[in-house]
């Protein structure tokens, strides 16, 4: 009887200390989609000459055509807002006419330990636009949380945060 008990104890112990899979849904990327003003269900391609993000000296991209973008939030420990500056051609067919759009967003951060093997990550919530030159009719808020599907890749893996209508 005691031997059976010990066997049972060993089996239960062996099953107690498992670590989960490393599936991380945390991200600092804001997902923008660009749609036509005249038909918000249709994608529009925007010719960006450059995009800059506050607290970063690098350009996110240069001379690129896009209908959706993933732009990172400032990850510094004391940052609670990030400013994005989009330099773009106002007319795709005429790149000499340019426009600049500015978006400043605030957010809250929560750090979570996922597991010992995966590590700790920052989760961004309550995304809010506090400053922009775009009209409110041009911005559609889809999600205020930054999250990604860890089982897939590409922009579609990230939750859409804003749709900008041009």
């Amino acid at each position: 009887m005691k031997f059976v008990v010990l066997m049972f104890v060993s089996l239960v112990l062996a099953s107690c200390f498992n670590e989960g899979d490393c599936l991380i849904s945390a991200t600092n990327y804001v997902h923008f989609q660009f749609k036509k003003k005249t038909n918000i269900t249709t994608d529009t391609t925007v010719a960006f000459t450059s995009i800059t993000v506050s607290n970063s000296n690098s350009l996110l991209l240069q001379d690129s055509l896009s209908s959706e973008l993933l732009i990172p939030l400032d990850i510094s420990t004391d940052a609670t807002s990030t400013t994005f500056i989009f330099h773009r051609a106002d007319d795709v067919d005429n790149p000499t006419i340019t426009a600049t759009d500015t978006l400043q967003v605030t957010y809250t951060k929560q750090s979570k330990v996922i597991s010992r093997d995966c590590g700790a990550f920052t989760f961004y919530h309550n995304l809010k636009i506090i400053r922009t030159n775009l009209s409110s009719a041009q911005i559609k808020i889809i999600s205020t949380d930054l999250i990604k599907d860890p089982t897939s890749s590409g922009p579609s893996a990230y939750a859409i945060n804003y749709q900008i209508l041009y």
Binding site: K2, S15, C16, P72, G119
Partner: protein, 239 residues
């Protein structure tokens, strides 16, 4: 006329049958044996069993320091069980370090299902309510293209939490007052309060990883039973 006679006879026979049946019923009621009165259950406690979790002591090292004391007191086949413990962890993460420390207690009832065992060994099912008070710190490095790595340092000074448990296990008498046993726990419904908004509680002493619901626990325990009165010998029922 003949039909009236027939009718009268049939009514008489029916009444006779009914009377006979009633008489039979009375006979069976009177012959039914009297129910033997059940012996009165003695709920007064007879002993206090105090023990410790061997697994906590064996696990104690670089990453884990902890102890747990267990006690129960009998009320017939029902046992009031109390566990008190402490644990502290120091975990190296893939991108940082996590430490915590705190104390906890659990309280609940175990029900013994081995009521015919002459040694009063136990196989029990029970439940517990747990409460923990702890602190934790987290340091880690976040990285992202375009930005310099950011070193986060966060802490939760005083977090309290609670949970429920379903338990099962054995208590086996080894020698005189020495008992050994195990308790397997299914812990559920963890809740915490008092943490900062910037750090989600990770590991709650007594419960484990807060985001795992349910979570499992296991104790292998040694006890000493302090008895203050002798219980009557168990009458083993034979089938």
């Amino acid at each position: 006329m003949l039909s009236i006679i027939r009718y009268c006879i049939s009514v008489y026979l029916a009444l006779l049958l009914a009377q006979f049946a009633q008489a039979q019923e009375k006979t069976t009621t009177t012959t039914k044996p009297k129910a033997i009165p059940k012996p009165k259950i003695d709920y007064s406690p007879s002993a206090l069993r105090v023990g410790t979790d061997i697994i906590s002591l064996v696990k104690t090292g670089q990453t884990f320091k902890g102890w747990e004391l267990n006690g129960d007191i009998d009320f017939s086949r029902y046992y009031l069980a109390v566990d008190v413990g402490s644990w502290a962890k120091n975990l190296t993460l893939n991108n940082g370090n996590y430490t915590n420390g705190g104390t906890y207690f659990r309280m609940g009832i175990d029900v013994n299902f081995l009521t015919n065992d002459p040694d009063r060994n136990m196989f029990f099912l029970g439940f517990r309510v747990g409460h923990s008070l702890f602190h934790e710190t987290l340091t880690y490095q976040a990285t992202s293209p375009l930005f310099s790595p950011a070193n986060y340092q966060l802490s939760n000074g005083s977090v309290s939490g609670g949970w429920g448990e379903l338990t099962t296990g054995l208590r086996v008498k080894i020698w005189k007052g020495l008992w050994m046993g195990y308790t397997a726990r299914m812990k559920f419904a963890p809740g915490t309060k008092g943490n900062s908004a910037t750090l989600a509680p990770y590991d709650m002493p007594g419960y484990g990883i807060v985001q795992n619901k349910p979570w499992w626990g296991f104790n292998y325990q040694v006890f000493w039973r302090f008895a203050w009165r002798k219980l009557p010998p168990v009458v083993v029922k034979k089938d």
